[in-house]
Structure formats: C-alpha cells, structure tokens
Amino acid sequence: MAGTKLVVGRWDGPDTVLAAARAARAAGYSCRDAYTPFPVHGMDAALGLEPSWLGKACLGFALAGLTGALGFQFWVSVFDWPMNVGGKSFSASPALIPVAFELTVLCAGLGTVATFLVFRGLSPARRPELEGLGATDDRFLLAFAPEAGAEAGLKAFLLEHGARDVRELEAPR
C-alpha cells in the first residue's frame, strides 16, 4: 500500500460530511475511511461497514469468565481442599454466585476492550493517521484511495459536495 495516494476532503459539520459520503458511495467512489471528532451516525451505512462483531467477543469472554470462576471455586471448595466452614456443605453453591458474577463482568469488560485495542491496533506506539487535519477538533474528513488517474475527478466531486478543501496525501503505513 505504501506509496498510494490518498485524497482527503474536509467538511465543517456532521450533516454535510454524511451527505458527501453517501453521495460518494452512490457515485461509486470507495471511501477508505472517515475521520470525525465524534461518531457521526449513519456513517456506517455511508461507508458500507458491517456491524461490529465485538459484542460476540464480549459474550465469549463473559462465558469464559463465568465458567472459569464457577469451576475454580467449585474445584477449590469440593475437590482440592474441602473445609468445613461454618457447617455449610462443601458444595454450598449460592455462595459462589457473587464472585462468579464479578469475574464474568471483569473478564467480559477487560477482554472486550483488549480485543478492541488489539483489533484496531491502538497502542501507545501507534502513529495516528491524518494527524493535524483537525479531525479530532472540529473537522470532518473523508479519505479515499482512488485508482491512479481518478484523483482529479474525485477532488471535483468532493468540492462539489461541500468539502471546504481537498488535498492529496501519501497514504500512511
């Protein structure tokens, strides 16, 4: 991918950028990504993104936490070292619920976030893309990686759809 040119348009507001993105998709331009100060609703469809799969990951982590916690507690209390604590049965299971619940939440939460970070490649060492164009402040960007020769048409298209400016950049990475 190195050496590809990116065409980046900038908009002032969420509504205009969303309209432009929709238009670009309709016009057959494949938008590489949008960069916005806050999530612009409707952009998923405008960019043609599948819904996030992290919910399933979260469920997986939660189940792992739940079974791990229940299993560990049960193994400890009944098999590894059964102890007579307050005359209760070794397998007195209601007592195992709170810890199992907490570990479920902990595993699910930390696991999902970790998966997200790993999946999106976020780390302290990561270089942000399109830094300095104001996407974290008040600018709304659409980035395209057009085929060679299509840059000029794209630029015009974007300006036509309300872009304040359009620039060509080296693609990151």
Partner: protein, 450 residues
C-alpha cells in the same frame, strides 16, 4: 437528531457553542495556568491527604489499637467510610453508564467528571478495607493464588472476599470505562499540544485519529461497557450490603439491605456529584457546560432516591417490629432511643427531611441551596452507615458485651485524609485532563441548525 425536537427542550449546552468552542473551552483548562481557587483547593486537599497519610503510617506502624475500636465494636469508622466512599462512587457509574443506556444526553457534560469521581471514590473506599486489617501487609492473602501452603485458597463463602472481587472488578471496569472515554479527548488535546506534552499525550491517546472504522467498534465497546457497568454497579453495593445482610447481628441481618444500599449509594453519589460539579464549574469556569438544567435534573434524582431511602428506614422499623424477634426489635429501638440516637435522627433529618425541599423548582435551581443540601445529604448518608454498623454492633446479643465506641483522632484524621486523597486527585484531574467529554458534547451540539 431532529432539530425540531431539540427546539422544544432547553439546549444541553448554553451559549451556542461550536465544536471548536468546545475544544477550546475544555482544553484551555488543562493548557492554561490554573485559577487561584484551584491552587487553594489543591493546597487544602493535599494537606488533608498528607495528614491522612501520616496517620495511616502511624496506625500501621503502631497497631490498629490507635483507633477507638474494642472487643465488641470491631468495625466502625473504617467500614463506615468504606461503604460511604463506595456509595459515592456509584453515582459516577450511574451517570456514565445507566443514563447512557437510557439515552439521557444531558449526561455528556458531567459524565467524565462523574466517572473520575467514581474512580477516586473507589480508591478512597479501597484504602479502608486495606488499612482496617490488623496485618495489612498480608492483604494479598485475600487473593486466591497458588502458594506453598498446600495450596491454601481463600474462603469463597466470605462476603468480605466477595467484596474483594466486587471492589477490584468495579475499580478495574470503571477505570477502563473512563480511560476508554478519554481516548478521543486525549487525541484532541494531543493535536493542540507540542513537545514532551504532545509525546505523552500521543502515547496516552493510543494513536487515536478519529477514524470512523475505529469509532464504529468504539461505540459498540462503549455500549458493552455501559451494559456491563450497569449490573456491576448494582452488584457492588449489593455485595457490600451482604457484609451485613449475611451476618447474624441484629440490625445487620436483613434482606432489605441490597436495594436499600444501592439506593442510598445513588442518593449519596448524586449529592457528591452535585457538590463537586458546583465547585468545579466555578473553579474552572464551566458554567456553560454544567448548566442549571443539569443541577435540576440531579436534584430530581436525589429527591426520588431520598424517598426510597426514607421508605427503607420505615420498612426496617416495621420489619423489626413485625418480626417479633426481640433482638431485632431492641436493635432498632436502640438506634432510635439508645446512646447513639443523635446519629440516627441526624440521618433522618439529612436524608429524608432536607431533600423534600427539592420539590420546589426554585430550590433546585439555587446554587447555594443545592450546594448546602448536597453537603447535608452526604453527612446524612455517612451517618446512615455509621448507625447501621456501630449501633448494631455495640449492643448485640449478650448484654455482658455491650460497649460504647468512641473514635480517636486517628480515625477522624484518616477520614479527613480520604477526603484529601479524593479532592487532590479530583483537582489534578481537573487541571490535567479534559473535564468534559468533548467528543460526546460535540455530538449533542446543534451543529449550525439553530
């Protein structure tokens, strides 16, 4: 998103702010030099923290006997403070997670500080179970780790162990949730910064660039975290209440505790959020973001929870009377008429009587009145925990063991120190991190649609 719908409501942010204004207003606090009020606040709170830290050192070095506890009353201020601080923490999670799930957009201005408050409050709370141990240097024994003792695990039947898991999970999830929300704002600040500051922010923001592909998963994760935090917050105070509810001590052993504690936690937490917000909007000039509408909304929550708490007080008394259990009956009579009755009636006054003033809209929008009442509610809620813990313990089954408890300066000072820790962290947070969730506020602005 309908512009007409918004028109019918008051704006969530005053002064027709733009995205740029939001970035400017919020980042300014962290970038500029702090106000004099901020310096004064930090000085006061860090002094309190230093006193508290010294007293904790003194207590650990000399022995827990420097507290006023005795053979009958084994817990008092320590666990009162613990429950108090955990309760405070709950409002933050409630605002950031539950209101998020309910799509209450007004939360965006205050959720960041409320979450910070949660984390700091849980830190304060965590200190107390740690230092209340006779041998805090062995505190790691409460974790089940493989060891050369057999291995000897831990007692999964102990509510205190459940606490360990609940509090540490709560802290971990709250901290992750908070930091997760900070990522876009740290990126905003990074873009405005240079030099070392920029490099630190670059690392801290994990290379955030506002990519919508990231935003899409980010929103999912945020929703999941909110969804996880919501039952978590209920479970935490439920488990804290189990410390008492599963015991055999009259006045503790009651099934009403979980909802009672959770409501009390929300109640006290909202009061603390109000206290903090009212200080913060003055100290760092965020009146436009933390508006009277926010104050008003929170007062309504306080009023509601106050009535639930009041109902719980009544129910408790009724249950004790109706149970026919003489120990239970005496425990509550002793709260009302015993040697600690002043605490009980202060609690009733602060928690049930005072909040009734919030029926009046004028009171709800009067900053001095709300500030005073929020403080009173916090006092009342501290009293509630003290009443539950101490008066139940000091006269339980065998009259031969009945004893009075009086705190020493060490306990009082340690409690003050926990406020020091809390406010020191909060002031530092105000100074160095975006106090308002910029990306979220930007999302609820009327972008040129007014």
């Amino acid at each position: 998103m309908s512009a007409t719908a918004c028109k019918l409501r008051e704006p969530l942010v005053d002064g027709h702010k733009s995205c740029r204004d939001v970035s400017e207003d919020v980042c300014r606090i962290a970038e500029g030099s702090p106000t004099r009020l901020w310096y004064a606040g930090l000085a006061a709170s860090s002094t309190a923290l230093a006193v508290g830290a010294f007293l904790v050192f003194h207590q650990v070095w000399t022995g827990i006997g420097v507290w006023g506890l005795n053979k009958t009353v084994g817990w008092s201020w320590d666990i009162t403070n613990f429950v108090f601080w955990v309760g405070i923490g709950h409002a933050g999670t409630l605002i950031s997670a539950i209101l998020f799930l309910f799509r209450q957009k007004w939360r965006t201005s205050i959720n960041r500080s409320a979450e910070a408050m949660t984390i700091f409050a849980v830190m304060c709370a965590g200190v107390f179970p740690l230092i209340h141990m006779g041998r805090p240097w062995l505190a790691y024994w409460v974790m089940p780790y493989p060891n050369p003792m057999g291995p000897l695990w831990v007692n999964f039947r102990s509510p205190l162990l459940w606490d360990v898991f609940a509090i540490s999970t709560y802290f971990a999830i709250s901290a992750v949730f908070w930091y997760f929300g900070l990522l876009p704002d740290l990126a905003t600040m990074r873009e405005r910064a240079s030099g070392v500051r920029r490099r630190v922010l670059a690392a801290a923001s994990l290379g955030w660039d506002g990519s919508h592909r990231t935003w899409q998963h980010y929103e999912t994760v945020y929703l999941l975290l909110a969804g996880l935090a919501t039952p978590l917050v209920f479970s935490v105070h439920t488990i804290v209440s189990f410390d008492f509810a599963t015991s055999v001590i009259p006045g503790w052993h009651t099934t009403i505790f979980p909802p009672y504690f959770v409501c009390g936690a929300i109640f006290s937490g909202f009061a603390m959020v109000l206290t903090l917000m009212l200080i913060a909007r003055k100290a760092v000039r965020l009146e436009a973001y933390i508006t009277l509408r926010h104050v008003d909304a929170m007062c309504k929550v306080i009023l509601l929870t106050s009535m639930i708490v009041g109902l719980a007080y009544g129910t408790e008394l009724f249950t004790a009377w109706y149970s026919g259990n003489p120990y239970e009956q005496f425990a509550f009579l002793n709260r009302i008429r015993g040697p600690y009755k002043a605490y009980y009636w202060t609690m009733v006054f602060c928690n049930v009587v005072v909040p009734q003033l919030f029926w009046s809209a004028r009171v709800r929008r009067s900053v001095p009145a709300v500030f005073t009442m929020s403080l009173l509610v916090n006092v009342g809620m501290w009293m509630e925990r003290f009443v539950i813990i101490t008066t139940s313990l000091h006269r339980d089954y065998l009259p031969s063991s009945w004893r009075m408890y009086h705190p020493t300066f060490v306990e009082v000072g340690t409690f003050v120190g926990s406020f020091g820790l809390f406010f020191t962290l909060f002031f530092l947070f105000c100074r160095f991190l975006p106090m308002v969730a910029m990306s979220e506020v930007k999302g609820v602005l009327d972008h040129g649609r007014h």
